[in-house]
Amino acid sequence: MASSSVAGDIELDRPNLEDYLPSDSLPQESPRNLHLRDLLDISPVLTEAAGAIVDDSFTRCFKSNSPEPWNWNIYLFPLWCLGVVIRYGILFPLRGLTLLVGWLAFFAAFFPVHFLFKGQKLRSKIERKLVEMMCSVFVASWTGVIKYHGPRPSTRPHQVFVANHTSMIDFIILEQMTAFAVIMQKHPGWVGFIQKTILESVGCIWFNRNDLKDREVVAKKLRDHVQHPDSNPLLIFPEGTCVNNQYTVMFKKGAFELGCAVCPIAIKYNKIFVDAFWNSKKQSFTMHLVRLMTSWAVVCDVWYLEPQYLRDGETAIEFAERVRDMIAARAGLKKVPWDGYLKHNRPSPKHTEEKQRIFADSVLRRLEES
């Protein structure tokens, strides 16, 4: 395939898209010679275009699922009203209060520790515990009903955890069990403030996904982090963007070429009370949290899966795909061949060129035969 010759990290980040793309438009191998009719008939290409307009797998990945409409009837209606009153009138203020108290306690403890403690080791240990505590407060603020399956991650070097990504709350849910150092997109607002002040103390690394230079720096930081014996376990969301927990987009290969054990984590949300997908284009993270805090509960399963190692002769991309298979199977996600960054960028012309190459080849071959 032509992909081996393409330079640049972004291009190499993807498995062969052509293996997945619908191939309806490829000219059928037929023994016939080339006729005018064959050249004029562009219906396969048009059908493919119209098919994409009517429905496409990429858009489906980022579709928020509206709650299933249930049967309105007069008996259920008062109950529902009562539910609304309880959720907004009682639960929400209570949860807000929990969060507020949590934050106050956290800051009261965090800043003295951060600025006064000299002992590196003890300080980071306390900070780690505090961050875990704060994350439990967050989970409590949406009555997180979370089942963790499998052995808890341990803190040791040479391992990296990868999980599917639905919302920033993935991170909170995982962080309350283990103080992970996470690789995340830089965010604006209060989230950015927390990223910079607090989460950096557990070794989190921030970057801007559109900045190529940032990506190089991150790659280096990653390697250093994994080698360091005292650092917190590393957590990466290799999809690079939030997906609606029904599909999974391609994994970036960065996490899979660090030369260490890759421990997959599968996260599946139960949509019974609320859809945990954060559609960052439509909703700020604050509004997303409010939505979670006004629902009955966030129900979720987390599976810590068997650590995986790079096999002999396996490329980083094949490795990433193998791990994606495991997570998709465990969490019941459908795989799509798209790079999540396409939410922000146009696809590269490489894919169009591949289609053109196949068409041109068949025309030339059939012309020679006639």
């Binding site: 793309l21 619908p22 080339l34 006729h35 005018l36 009719r37 064959d38 050249l39 004029l40 008939d41 562009i42 219906s43 290409v45 048009l46 059908t47 493919e48 275009a49 119209a50 098919g51 994409a52 307009i53 009517v54 429905d55 496409d56 797998s57 990429f58 858009t59 579709k63 509206s66 709650p67 409409p69 798209w338 396409l342 146009r346 696809p347 894919h351 169009t352 060129e353 289609k355 053109q356 190459r357 068409f359 041109a360 080849d361 025309v363 030339l364 012309l367 006639s370």
Partner: protein, 175 residues
């Protein structure tokens, strides 16, 4: 929640059905309407070229620029009419008419050598040279009894494409 997108009344649906020659069932129209609202991100009541290009599967299509010229700024009725050629209920004639419209960029009812060549250029990109394209085209034209200067009309297209086993159908997902 979720109620804003299904505001089509029976009258609206029937009006759209009339507009597209009943190529789609009422359920299909409702599905298409959901899809249309999804594509129309800024909610202006029409889908712009940029919004179509946010669908990667469409954006990688070799003919997408050409189709965008037909698609840019369509409202829902026109959107459905555009897609009606791909309905299983559309006749072969309607499908061929659609193909003809793609070729006939200046809408004068005639397709010249250059029009066909330019589609071929889109389809083959840098993988054929301009000479190769011309050679191929002249070869098949002469074989079919035409010349480089022939102009094709819709009936010509019908004659050429009529007996081909064309399958130009798109299924509208109904949920």
């Amino acid at each position: 929640m979720g109620s804003t997108s299904s505001m089509l009344t029976q009258y609206d649906i029937e009006e759209v059905q009339d507009h597209c020659d009943h190529a789609f069932s009422q359920q299909e129209i409702v599905s298409l309407y959901h899809r249309f609202c999804q594509l129309d991100r800024n909610g202006g009541g029409f889908v712009s070229a940029d919004e179509f290009m946010t669908v990667p599967e469409f954006a990688v299509n070799p003919l997408c620029q050409r189709l965008l010229r037909m698609l840019d700024g369509l409202n829902f009725k026109e959107f459905v009419a555009f897609l009606s050629a791909f309905s299983p209920r559309a006749s072969l004639q309607q499908k061929i008419e659609f193909i003809f419209r793609v070729y006939d960029t200046d809408c004068n009812g005639k397709v010249a050598f250059d029009d066909i060549l330019s589609i071929l250029r889109d389809l083959t990109g840098s993988f054929m040279t301009e000479q190769q394209r011309q050679k191929v085209l002249i070869h098949v034209l002469e074989e079919a009894g035409y010349t480089k200067d022939s102009h094709f009309t819709l009936p010509d297209f019908m004659k050429i494409l009529d007996n081909s086993d064309m399958k130009m159908e798109v299924e509208v997902p109904i949920d």
